[in-house]
Symmetry: C2
Subunit: 146 residues, 2 copies
């Protein structure tokens, strides 16, 4: 089992964080401005990153203020068939996001890259909710030559 | 096997990046300003983060411009006995850092937190080498309530 795991704490209520994961506008505010599709259960959401391509996610689970689960149905070979989950809980003044991108077949170099990149965008999600402005693609900082 | 994997590309030569991993001054410039000890092979380097404590690393391998390997000899329970490696290679104008914190017994919530935090500090290392100024503790941005 090789997973990408992250944890961020957002100084906000559960619903504000959930909305950034369960709506097209919310997702466009922290991951990529080029987000479109149907974010209801069973729908497909398309994320694009210019020349770098992108991925299509089928929404598998939506539990308001609690959990979002996607399955990658198109995108990089290494991603197709993997799942991405966001589990939320409240601690003090924070909404904790536990992130898990699981089902990677092997710990390839691209997985290292995605580990760093997911952290960057989860910090963008935190910034979006706390300040009203995230840093989605193409306004993100590069993590390297990929 | 549950590892924390990251990849950053630093627009710089191999030696400049290696120096930030193999010297006390270099480490203090991106991880924590409170870094001390002996950074030669077999030596122990102490990293401190104020009230949050810290960790002691025994330097196991140093290959100039190529690789640094530490073993955690004191610190959080989940860290003791784990290893942390930095493998370097050149690609175009970039020095690629492949990071691996391996040997975690279980994917506990603290591991999620450390996954995000390592990404933050590796981006600080990149910033240090590229601009001359990193964001080590206590000048780092919080990733949450821990």
């Amino acid at each position: 089992m090789v997973d990408i795991l992250h944890r961020v704490g957002v100084k906000s209520d559960l619903n504000s964080v959930y909305d950034t994961l369960a709506t097209i506008d919310g997702l466009a505010g922290w991951w990529t401005t080029s987000t479109s599709g149907d974010s209801t259960v069973g729908g497909i959401v398309e994320f694009r990153f210019g020349d770098a391509g992108g991925s299509d996610m089928r929404v598998r689970e939506l539990e308001p203020a609690k959990r979002v689960l996607w399955e990658v149905v198109a995108g990089p070979d290494e991603w197709v068939g993997t799942t991405i989950s966001f589990d939320l809980k409240q601690e003090d003044d924070y909404t904790i996001v536990l992130f898990n991108h699981q089902g990677w077949r092997e710990p390839v170099e691209f997985m290292h890259h995605c580990g760093t990149t997911w952290a960057k965008f989860l910090m963008s999600l935190k910034q979006l909710v706390e300040t009203g402005k995230g840093a989605p693609y193409p306004d993100d900082v590069s993590v390297g030559n990929w």
